[in-house]
Symmetry: C3
Subunit: 203 residues, 3 copies
Amino acid sequence: MFPDNIFVNIINTLGIIAFALSGAVAGMKKEADVLGVVILSLIAASCGGIIRDLMLGDLPPELLRSNFILSLAVFSGLLTFFCYHRVDRLHHHIDILDALGLGLYAVVGADKAMAFGITPTWCVGLGLVTAVGGGIARDVMLAQVPTILKSEIYATPALLGALILVAGQSWRPEYGDVFLALGAVVCSSLRLLAIHFHWHIRR
Amino acid sequence: MFPDNIFVNIINTLGIIAFALSGAVAGMKKEADVLGVVILSLIAASCGGIIRDLMLGDLPPELLRSNFILSLAVFSGLLTFFCYHRVDRLHHHIDILDALGLGLYAVVGADKAMAFGITPTWCVGLGLVTAVGGGIARDVMLAQVPTILKSEIYATPALLGALILVAGQSWRPEYGDVFLALGAVVCSSLRLLAIHFHWHIRR
Amino acid sequence: MFPDNIFVNIINTLGIIAFALSGAVAGMKKEADVLGVVILSLIAASCGGIIRDLMLGDLPPELLRSNFILSLAVFSGLLTFFCYHRVDRLHHHIDILDALGLGLYAVVGADKAMAFGITPTWCVGLGLVTAVGGGIARDVMLAQVPTILKSEIYATPALLGALILVAGQSWRPEYGDVFLALGAVVCSSLRLLAIHFHWHIRR
């Protein structure tokens, strides 16, 4: 786990809010009611970590043992419902926070998976699941093909971040924190570059 | 858990049948075959409780240890497949049974969650999941946006019922049964009033 | 569990590849990018077994403890992405391999479930889940009504295969392997006949 420093906590909080807002905005577009918007906000923010913990057998999932994600998601959902136009206008800024969350989730998810006796390759996979699971669950709930399966550079940076963490941890476990930071920075930077330059994967 | 009295058992049985029929009817509308209709009937009746138990780590889920829900769901599925028009014509009556099941599932789900070391707020959440999870799974399986996310007063009563149970249990654990009954009655009544007066949440 | 003989291993490998290819082809049709195709390939090949293990509480799921399915799925996904037209042209051959995998998954899934204290009827159900869960997850991810819920003879053979195994095992546990083989052969043959003669269930 990351050292519990304030910088990581800020990124984590911003990332959760960005994920939650993405769920809430998607719910507004499909005309969900206020409780529906809050539910979608919570799903987008929490499903990645919940699916990871279900797969690892760490039950009840970590995030059900605190109200941290739950309160951020309820707040984000209500904010979006009652100030939709303002939130929607901020979507470029939200994308940037989302990129920060993506990197953090990918490395933290992969790092946690390494303690549960699954293969390193699957640890990378669970890092990816932690990072993109919420977005997939949000889209599946709304009967849409998940955007991240399509030509957008979103899952690739998360995969790369998780890969750096797992490869690094396996090679030099004593520098675990360095690879955590490196994986997160590479993932978030790549995602930010993809947003800034409108990169798409060509088919 | 509720005292095992005959009145609660009747409501429980009727509620399961109502949930199962909703799944079966949705399957018929999407042209599922006989086994598909039975599968959807089972999903609608069981997924709320299964998701709750997965999240709590109470595995295998409670309802896989008996054939009660399974037989009711198979029966409801076959009945719907072979007597579709009669079942569909009863949909107002089914809605009423469904409201009874909703209240019971919400409080029983929240009550069970309280023994598993998660926060009270998440217990309310799992009560909601128990009550509406089957309906969400049914709609997601059929590639539809879950109706309960939209402007229908369905999830709100379930949330309220679970909230009454959790707040009551935390405040006065010795009156647990009273709050179970109160939460279920408030949830079911509110849902029945919403059906009767065609209440919708305005956006 | 099946005796670890080479014949069973070959069927197992071919079945996994067939399932994975079905996921990859479905992803290509919905314009997923290369990572999306690989993810769908993995989901189609693994979700049946993962859902079964989640329900049984055997966590982390069996197949996360080896890279076998993961590597076959990544290989199948990349193959499909880069040689789509060739793979798509082979779909009749893939259907045949898929039928072999279906039979094997159904009996192996039901057999495993019998050791976990759930009712025999639910064991049959989990055999079915193991066999068809990957296909359902693939379709749900792509916002399509699962084809197996519709008028195609796919889930029925799997149900029958699992039923033969569970009934046989309960009646004469000492002939477990015989019923494993019998269930798998009946399921796969029925599915192959359904493909060959274009059988459909009439509504």
